[in-house]
Subunit: 131 residues, 6 copies
Amino acid sequence: MAVVPLLGDGEAGAEARAVFADIREKRQTDYVNNFWRALAHDPALLRATWERVQAVMAPGALDPLVKELVYVAVSAAHGCDYCVHSHTAAAKAKGMTAAQHGELLAVIALASQTNALATALSVPVDERFRA
Amino acid sequence: MAVVPLLGDGEAGAEARAVFADIREKRQTDYVNNFWRALAHDPALLRATWERVQAVMAPGALDPLVKELVYVAVSAAHGCDYCVHSHTAAAKAKGMTAAQHGELLAVIALASQTNALATALSVPVDERFRA
Amino acid sequence: MAVVPLLGDGEAGAEARAVFADIREKRQTDYVNNFWRALAHDPALLRATWERVQAVMAPGALDPLVKELVYVAVSAAHGCDYCVHSHTAAAKAKGMTAAQHGELLAVIALASQTNALATALSVPVDERFRA
Amino acid sequence: MAVVPLLGDGEAGAEARAVFADIREKRQTDYVNNFWRALAHDPALLRATWERVQAVMAPGALDPLVKELVYVAVSAAHGCDYCVHSHTAAAKAKGMTAAQHGELLAVIALASQTNALATALSVPVDERFRA
Amino acid sequence: MAVVPLLGDGEAGAEARAVFADIREKRQTDYVNNFWRALAHDPALLRATWERVQAVMAPGALDPLVKELVYVAVSAAHGCDYCVHSHTAAAKAKGMTAAQHGELLAVIALASQTNALATALSVPVDERFRA
Amino acid sequence: MAVVPLLGDGEAGAEARAVFADIREKRQTDYVNNFWRALAHDPALLRATWERVQAVMAPGALDPLVKELVYVAVSAAHGCDYCVHSHTAAAKAKGMTAAQHGELLAVIALASQTNALATALSVPVDERFRA
C-alpha cells in the first residue's frame, strides 16, 4: 500500500539487512517495523536515518520518554499518521500512562489553538522574548 | 504591526481588564504580553483562552516544563514565530537548560525528517501499533 | 525585503503593466498591492493568478464576504502572514464587523484544536460521513 | 484502528457517558460519532472540547453554516481527513448545496495557491494592511 | 470513500465528460484517475484545474521530470497522500530512477529538518539573501 | 532577533569554530550565514546538520540545482521564511534563471492547489498508483 514495496528480509540487499540486524540487536526484538522496510530501498538513507534516531533519542539532558512525547507532538502537528501511531506506541513502551497521554493531547490541542490565534492576528513578538 | 491594534490597559474594556488583572496576579508580574493584548478585542475569546491555558498547563501527570517543551515543538511545527518565542522564553523561565534546549531542537528536527519520509513513502501503519 | 524586488510601474514590463491596469480598473483604486508587484517578474503567472482570483471570488452561491472569511481561515492555517493581513483587510472592506472577526477567530482556533486531537488520536472516519 | 480504542457506551466511564447523553440530547440523535468515543478516555478533555464546540458553533454574528464552511477549510488546510469528512457532513446537514460546496473548494484551492506564492516570494506586508 | 462519490463516465455530466475525453486524448490512455472523477461534480472547477495542470506542467525552462519531483516534494510537505502517490507514479512514468527517488527523499527529509531548526530558532534572514 | 543570540567567531566554542572553518573552506567564502551561527550553541547539532547537508546536496543521481529547487519547494510548503530566502539564493548561485524561478513558483502554486482539492475531497488513491 506504500509508494514502494516494503522489503522483507529476503528482499533487502546486504547493506539494508545489516541495518535490520542492528535494529534487532539494539531494540532487543525480532520485529523490524514498516518504516525501515520502506527505507530499505535506499540503504544509505536507511543507515543515516537509523543512526540519527539512535544518536538523538538516547538518554541525555532530556528523559527518553520526554523525547517521545515531543516526537508524538511534532508528528501530530505534521499530520503524519504513521508517526503518530509508532511514536505513541513507543511512548507507551517507555512508560507513558493514560493520564500522561491525556495531558499530552490537551497540550497539543491548546498549542494548536493558540498558534492559530497568534498567526491569524499576526501578533508581534514582545521585545522581552527576543534573545 | 498586528492585524488588530494591541490594546493598552486604558484601551481595553472592563471585561478584558479583569482578565489582564487575573494574568498579573496568577503570573505574579505586571507584564501582560502582546498575545493577550491582541485577543482583548474579543473579551469572551480572551477569557476562554486564558482559562484553558491555566487548566491545561497546570502541574499534573506531566511536569510543567515538559508541557512547555511540547508547546515549543508544536509551535515550531506550525511555524508560529510568536509562539516559538513566547514558549521558549516560558520554558527557560521554568528551568530549561541550554543542553535541554539543544536536545529539544534535535528531536524536533529528527521528527520533522522522519515524518517527511514516512509521508513521502506513505508507509502503512504496522498492525501492532494499532489500538 | 522579498525574495525578488517589488516592481514599480516603471519597472514592470508591458504585459505586467496591463494586468496592473486591469487590477486598478476592476478594483476602482490606484493602489496595486505588493503581491502583484512581486508576481510581475513572471507576467504569465501574474495574469493567470489575477484571472483566477476574479473568477473564484466573484459573487456566486457563496457571498463574497463568506469567501473572504474562508480565505482568511486557510491563510491562517498555512501560516501565511501576508495573506492573513491582505485578506483580513479585504474582509473588513467587504463589511466584516469586529464581532464577526472575533467569531471567525474562535472557529479557526476551535478547528485547529479538534483537528489536532483527531489527528493525534487517528480517529477513523465514521461510515455515515463517507459519500 | 485509532491510537486508542473507541469506547462504546458500556465501556465509557460515568463522566464520559454523561457527555454522550448531552451530545445525544443537544443534537437530537442517538448517534455519537467516533471523535467523542476516542476522547472518552479522558473525560475532562472530552467535556472541555464538547463545551467549547457548543459555545463557538452556536449562532452569533456569523451564521452556523458559514462557521461550518470555515471549519471545513481549516480542516483541509491541516490535512485532517476525519475533520474534513465530519464537517463536510455537518455543512450538508446545515444546508450546504452542491454549488456552495464547489465554490468552497475553489476558494480553498485558490487560497492555497496564493498562500504558497506569497510565502515562496516572501512578499512584505503592505503598510495599509497593518492595523 | 471520498467526501463525494467518484463519478463514472455514465454519471458525469456533458461538460465533465468533455474534460474526461480531453484527458484521455492528451495523456493517450483510457484511464481517468480518481482526482478528476471527484472534481467532476463541479465541471467548471474540473476544467480550470485540468487546464492549469497542462499549462504549468508542459516542458519549458524546467524539465517535465524536474517539475514532477517538485510536485512530489510539495505534496509530501503538505501531507497529501493521494498526491504523493499520483505524482510519484507520474515521476516514474517520466523516467525517475530508484536512485533519483532515493535522493529526492533525502532532500525532502533534509529540508524538513533544517526548516524545523530555522523556525524553532527563528533565525533572522541574512541581509545578503534579500532581494 | 532570534530565539538565541547568533554567535560571532569570537563567541563560538572551539568545536563550533571548527565547523565554521569547514564551511568556509568547502564553500570557498568567508561568509558564515546566520543559520549556522544560531546552531553554534549546540556544536553536536551544528556538526551533524552540516555533515548531512554536504552528504545530501552533493552531485549524484540528481543535479545540485534540481536539489535546490526541491529544497525551495519544501521550504515554501513549510512556510520557513529563512529557508525560502537562503535556498532561493543558493539556487540562483547554482544557475537558476528567472524563467526557471517563475516555473518553479508555478509548480509550487499548482501543487498547493491540487493538494488542497485532493485533501478537501479525500480522494481515494487509485489502485494503480500503489506499489
